[in-house]
């Protein structure tokens, strides 16, 4: 009598019974790298704190941010044509950045 495929498959499956864990999962978990979320949080916190500190320092050293008012006043005196050119250039720069980021993302996927 010839051996049938399903008989062979069944015997192959029966030949390897369930393997008990016996600490295997625990060993794997010990080998996993530590979650990086804490360091990411710390990095964000440091960045925000440093930015806040730098802003406060600038405010104090610049006589209460007086230079901002001066520069704002100067901005109002810029010719309209320059404002339009500046707005267009900024828009195009941001758009180019967006397109580049999208292309990079598509390439990654």
């Amino acid at each position: 009598m010839e051996i049938q495929d399903d008989w062979l498959d069944r015997k192959l499956q029966e030949a390897v019974p369930y393997i008990e864990d016996d600490g295997f999962t625990a060993r794997v978990l010990r080998m996993l790298p530590q979650p990086v979320r804490r360091t990411e949080f710390l990095r964000s916190f440091i960045l925000v704190a440093m930015s806040a500190f730098a802003s406060a320092l600038t405010y104090v050293l610049s006589d209460g941010g007086r230079f901002i008012l001066v520069e704002m006043f100067r901005l109002t005196t810029i010719p309209t044509l320059w404002v339009v050119v500046f707005a267009l250039a900024s828009g195009m720069l941001v758009m180019a950045g967006g397109i580049f980021a999208a292309m990079y993302r598509v390439h990654q996927i």
Partner: protein, 177 residues
């Protein structure tokens, strides 16, 4: 209600939840370790080391799992790659450690003599046929899934399964009655 593999993977991705990954390991350790034991021809220690390596790699690369295939298929592919790398490093595949292998098996499920002959027949198959037979006939993967795991064309998988089966049938012909 028991969480699905997809739920557990989502927890690992969103919260970096290692307990969720532990549950995934618990669920799939038996099949992955079983496959590697067969591929290494019964070297339990090496198979378990490779399985550990495979699960750690799976954890590190879990963001690349897109859910197109079953999680188990993805794991098999990683485990198979670990095995291939180790085999390449050693230049030759590990020898048969049948005594240890037999001692690990549950004697209630299959005639010990048949198991011995089956395992011996399997170990004699060339690697490409053995891998295809183990994945498709023993672990129940479709030919398409096995093709993804092994990284070879579908037609080659079918041929390897067919040839492997025929060789096993010939070797085990005495057990037909």
């Amino acid at each position: 209600m028991e969480l699905t593999d997809a739920d557990l993977i989502a927890r690992v991705l969103v919260d970096d939840d290692q307990h969720a990954f532990g549950e995934l390991v618990r669920r799939h350790q038996s099949s992955v370790r079983g496959l590697l034991r067969q591929l290494t021809r019964g070297d339990v220690q090496l198979a378990d080391d490779l399985a550990q390596d495979a699960f750690v790699r799976a954890y590190k690369n879990i963001r690349t799992f897109r859910g197109e295939a079953k999680f188990s298929t993805w794991l098999y592919r990683i485990a198979y790659n670990c095995f291939r790398e180790e085999a390449r490093k050693r230049k030759e595949l590990v020898g048969i450690n049948e005594e240890q292998w037999q001692a690990e098996q549950d004697p209630q499920t299959i005639d010990p003599g048949l198991r011995h002959d089956l395992m011996h027949a399997l170990s004699l198959l060339p690697l490409h046929e053995r891998s295809a037979v183990l994945l498709c006939c023993q672990n129940g993967l479709s030919h398409d899934e096995a093709s993804r795991v092994l990284g070879i064309p579908l037609g080659t998988v079918k041929t390897n399964v067919l040839r492997g089966r025929e060789k096993l049938k010939k070797t085990l012909a005495a057990w037909a009655n």
